[in-house]
């Protein structure tokens, strides 16, 4: 096994003593009279100034094994084995001692800074509070130190930000504040639990850059928990691959990427969509099929200068989420719509299926004018469009068996019932490669990937001409994502529907679409063939976006990183202004969204 190798591994950092030694760590959960292991015999070392990445899918025990170091397991969990921080045993430590360790010696950066920061205190207050909890210093000194920390994490305008509340900051700034807080006590060990998963790709690039810089400045060990191989390639010195609670492989980052030993690691690396891997191949395919860049065929969706606004309510003004977008999708064509959160891409998707009214301009779906259409008018159109939602957990009614969820559109539009409906539902289940016996199951009994298959089956039940896929794989694990995307491609080829594929993940979009549209702040900044967008983006925003995507290959990523950092430097001022605007817009849209009214006049 490869686990013991960790012990015999040659120290990378000039033979320095490890700060954290984890030996045979087991985490179990008590369920219904039995202990379920979540992590088994986890063994690794972390040395100062080193980034150790723990990689694995959800449920592989990567988070639980790290949280057990801090004694932060739920009530029915327990940890056994040994974990020594500077020779001090952490497992089995009393609650009081552990409290001194937390924050002081080990700090955690959480995935979602919005929920990890307390919304009723300003970020400055929260950092000062941490400082004064752990050190005997006065308020003035603590404030000084907090400002110093905010400067260290390159927070723009730290004096003002000190008094800001979490909701007044953009996602990237919040994560910076979170990092500043975790660094406040000079921790020996920093546990970063998916620190960039909730962030946009350009913001992720900045945070990764910050973390790299910090690693050189503070002499702590960093445990990076992530499922994103691109992030790993960017950051990690050494890698531990976990699967089903066990370490399947561990070693130097370069070795693992260049020469993965365990089949699981190979699969994991293979499942990651690789930006730029498809476009070269596809450009010729595409040209053969469509005769170049201008697609032929009946247009299924035509949008011209489309404007979508969330109406004003009370004192908050109307918010223009989509501003003058023109986009055409032809029959059988997959168009990718890429952008960061708040860029208006989801808004377009919702407008296309008639969940949001178009304020100005033109939007035609299958020859039908959507502007000002009423609930009744939309009825016949519903057959032509389907939508796959982002979160498969939320898009299926938890109280309906999935067979009923899939059959609902069929029943409502064609009026078929009973045995005939059952037959159709079964054939749909076959198409998405789910066993027929699942018909009577409820959504909570299915895994994420299975749920999303059900979502796809439902969207396809009426054989739509246009399918809107709103980030259908962003909630899934990498390997599951690969399978769902494969299925999606097959189905598209088979049924020949046109598709608007919305995603923030350029690599995924590139894999599926023939053309890509890039959105930024409600405007369409660039539209072109997939190969053109990926290989020679023209718009500066697209260039930044492409540069920011981490690639699961340390060597290539190193080159990309240098280019990216140069781009980031160049656009620093612009970026700061944008972040500000974004934070503002997020606030506006957050206040606005619940008040939106569908064209149905609810």
């Amino acid at each position: 096994m490869s686990a013991p190798e960790a012990i015999t591994d040659k120290p990378v950092d000039g033979g320095r003593e490890p700060i954290l030694e984890v030996r045979d760590l087991c985490v179990d959960f008590y369920v219904e009279g039995e202990w379920f292991p979540a992590a088994i015999d986890v063994t690794y070392d972390v040395r100062p100034g080193e980034v150790l990445a723990i990689v694995g899918e959800s449920g592989s025990g990567k988070s639980q094994s790290s949280m057990s170091l801090l004694g932060l397991l739920p009530g029915n969990g327990r940890a056994t084995g040994s974990a020594k921080l500077d020779g001090k045993e952490l497992i089995g430590m009393s609650a009081g001692q552990l409290r001194r360790v937390r924050g002081n010696d080990i700090a955690v950066i959480f995935q979602e800074p919005m929920t990890a920061l307390n919304p009723v205190y300003s970020i400055g207050f929260q950092i000062v509070e941490t400082l004064r909890n752990h050190f005997d210093i006065g308020p003035t000194a603590a404030t000084e130190r907090a400002l110093e920390l905010l400067r260290l994490v390159e927070m723009p305008d730290p004096e003002t930000r000190f008094h800001s509340y979490p909701h007044q900051l953009s996602g990237g700034q919040r994560q910076r504040a979170m990092i500043a807080q975790s660094l406040s006590c000079d921790p020996r060990l920093l546990i970063a639990d998916e620190p960039t998963t909730a962030l946009d790709v350009t913001v992720q690039a900045e945070i990764l850059k910050l973390m790299r810089d910090l690693r050189n400045r503070i002499d702590s060990g960093i445990v990076l928990i992530t499922h994103d191989m691109g992030v790993v390639a960017d950051m990690a010195d050494r890698i531990v691959v976990m699967r089903r609670g066990r370490i399947v492989e561990s070693g130097e980052a370069k070795d693992i990427f260049d020469n993965p030993q365990h089949p699981y690691t190979r699969e994991l690396l293979g499942a990651v969509p690789h930006l730029g891997a498809h476009s070269t191949m596809e450009i010729s395919d595409h040209e053969r099929d469509h005769g170049g860049d201008t697609p032929i065929g009946e247009p299924v969706m035509v949008a011209e200068n489309m404007v979508i606004e969330y109406p004003k309510r009370g004192r908050t003004p109307a918010f223009r989420a989509v501003d003058g977008v023109s986009l055409t999708i032809n029959a059988g064509e997959v168009v990718g719509l890429v952008g960061e959160s708040g860029s208006g891409k989801t808004t377009i998707g919702r407008a296309v299926v008639g969940l949001l009214p178009v304020t100005e301009g033109k939007l035609e779906i299958a020859g039908f004018d959507m502007v000002g259409a009423s609930h009744k008018d939309l009825m016949p159109l519903r057959k032509q469009i389907g939508i796959v939602f982002q979160d498969p957990g939320s898009s299926l009614n938890p109280r309906l068996p999935i067979g009923e969820s899939i059959g609902e559109p069929l029943m409502l539009h064609t009026g078929i019932k009973g045995a005939e409906l059952d037959k159709r539902v079964e054939s749909l289940l076959d198409q998405v490669e789910l066993p027929r016996s699942m018909r009577n199951r409820y959504p909570h009994e299915l895994s994420g990937g299975q749920r999303q298959r059900v979502g796809i089956a439902r969207a396809l039940s009426l054989e739509p001409k246009l399918l809107v896929a709103d980030e259908p794989t962003s909630a899934l694990d990498v390997s599951v994502q690969a399978h769902v995307l494969e299925l999606f491609t097959d189905l598209q080829r088979e049924h020949g529907f046109a598709c608007l594929f919305i995603s923030h993940d350029l690599a995924v979009v590139e894999m599926l679409s023939s053309r890509i549209a890039v959105m930024h702040h409600g405007k369409l900044v660039e539209l072109g063939s997939a190969a053109q967008i990926v290989q020679s983006p023209k718009d500066p925003y697209t260039q930044r976006l492409i540069a920011a995507v981490p690639v699961p290959d340390p060597n290539e990523q190193k080159i990309r990183r240098e280019r990216r950092d140069a781009l980031l430097e160049a656009a620093a001022a612009e970026l700061a202004a944008e972040e500000e605007l974004e934070a503002h817009q997020q606030n506006v849209s957050r206040g606005e969204r619940p008040t939106q009214d569908g064209p149905t006049g609810f």
């Binding site: 039995e34 609670g245 699969e267 939602f389 559109p409 909570h444 009994e445």
Partner: protein
């Protein structure tokens, strides 16, 4: 694969998108040593990779959500005790003195009725109930709960009072459920103007003190028949439920499956009644049970004030009111109806509590240390056997 691989046990469940199951064996065959290592690694160990999923799935495998809730409810000790006591009280009240149904009387097994005058047996009409530790041993006697000044049997009167209270509780519950759910559902679903009108109307009702309204309505409608009073009380008791249902609907409305239903072309009423209401059922059931226990107390309070049920009918509150003067001389006139009020209200609260726990999927019982240790020993023994 050996039989203790969980993959075999949960077959359809696990035909999931785990490509590594297949991938491992196919790619692993390139390297025999690796395959051997990974298979020994897999066997005999509970599949930890799916542990998180398995932990969730173990409880809910093959069950609908209704079944899960039922199972959790039946495991709730307090709620089950409440339910059993409640059923026993209801059975006792119904069978002992019988009941009228549409002018037709079904007699019970108890010889006395609530209104009949009997000869006073014990001095001052004291209870004939003897406990095992009393002299003469256990005995029920002619009038176990005693008699009042004019010789009426208190057991029969209490049972009649319990019947009245249960009827009032049921009717108030039903009326308030229908009104509160509809008002809350429409306000939460349609929002905007509808919401404003409905919620301001709800606020208006909330501002009126229930006891005062109840007193006025009770004066007007209070009679021997409990139904009109119960209907009137139900018509003002729905406000809390309406607010809760509205809140639930506001959040449900933003869920994607509602959008999915809308895209599928479902009508408004289908969305409300087929998709949203079943998801709000937890909130509704829980708050209705709690509302019913307060309804009993409300009726009692009104009757106690003399605004509720009028003679010749009997209610528990009215009994307490009637006999309050004799608290010192004939305490049994006071204690028995009081005891039943407390029992019924407690039972309903316990049931409501159990339902709330059952409907909340996030709530998990933290196992006791003893249970954990027992599981531990079991695993240790299994391990020992496996190695031996």
């Amino acid at each position: 694969m050996s039989t203790n691989d969980p993959q075999d046990k949960r077959d359809p469940q696990d035909e999931r998108d785990d490509p590594f199951e297949a991938g491992e064996t196919s790619t692993g065959s390139l390297d025999p040593a690796m395959t051997a290592a990974s298979t020994t690694d897999e066997d005999g160990v509970v599949d930890a990779g799916q542990a998180e999923n398995a932990i969730e799935l173990r409880e809910v495998e093959g069950l609908s959500q209704g079944q899960i809730v039922r199972r959790r409810f039946f495991r709730h000790t307090g709620a089950m005790a409440g339910l059993i006591v409640m059923i026993l009280i209801a059975l006792l009240a119904i069978t002992s003195i019988g009941f009228n149904i549409g002018g037709f009387r079904i007699p019970g097994w108890w010889p006395h009725t609530a209104g009949a005058l009997n000869d006073i047996l014990n001095p001052r009409g004291g209870p004939t109930l003897r406990m095992p530790w009393d002299e003469g041993g256990f005995a029920i006697g002619e009038h176990p709960f005693g008699q009042d000044e004019i010789g009426r049997d208190i057991f029969a009167r209490t049972m009649k009072g319990v019947q009245t209270s249960l009827i009032v509780m049921g009717v108030i519950g039903a009326v308030a459920t229908v009104l509160g759910t509809l008002v809350g559902a429409f306000a939460g679903f349609f929002r905007g103007k509808t919401d404003n009108v409905l919620m301001r109307f709800t606020d208006l009702i909330i501002t009126l003190p229930v006891i005062v309204i109840g007193a006025v309505l009770g004066k007007k409608l209070g009679s021997a028949d409990p139904i009109p009073l119960a209907l009137a009380l139900g018509a003002i008791a729905w406000t809390g439920l309406a607010r809760l249902v509205r809140g639930d609907f506001l959040s449900l409305r933003e869920r994607e499956f509602i959008d999915a239903a809308r895209v599928a072309g479902a009508s408004t009423s289908r969305i409300i009644f087929k998709h949203m209401l079943p998801n709000a059922i937890g909130v509704i059931i829980v708050s209705v049970t709690l509302l019913m226990s307060s309804a009993i107390l409300l009726e009692t309070a009104l009757s106690y004030l003399g605004f509720g049920i009028q003679p010749p009918n009997v209610s528990l509150g009215q009994m307490i009111n009637n006999y309050q003067g004799s608290f010192n001389t004939r305490p049994w006139l006071f204690w028995w109806p009081g005891l039943f009020i407390i029992l019924i209200a407690l039972c309903v609260n316990f049931i409501g509590d159990g339902l709330r726990d059952a409907f909340d999927p996030r709530q998990k019982k933290v196992p006791s240390a003893r249970k954990m240790a027992r599981a531990d020993r079991r695993t240790a023994r299994a391990d020992a056997r496996a190695t031996a």
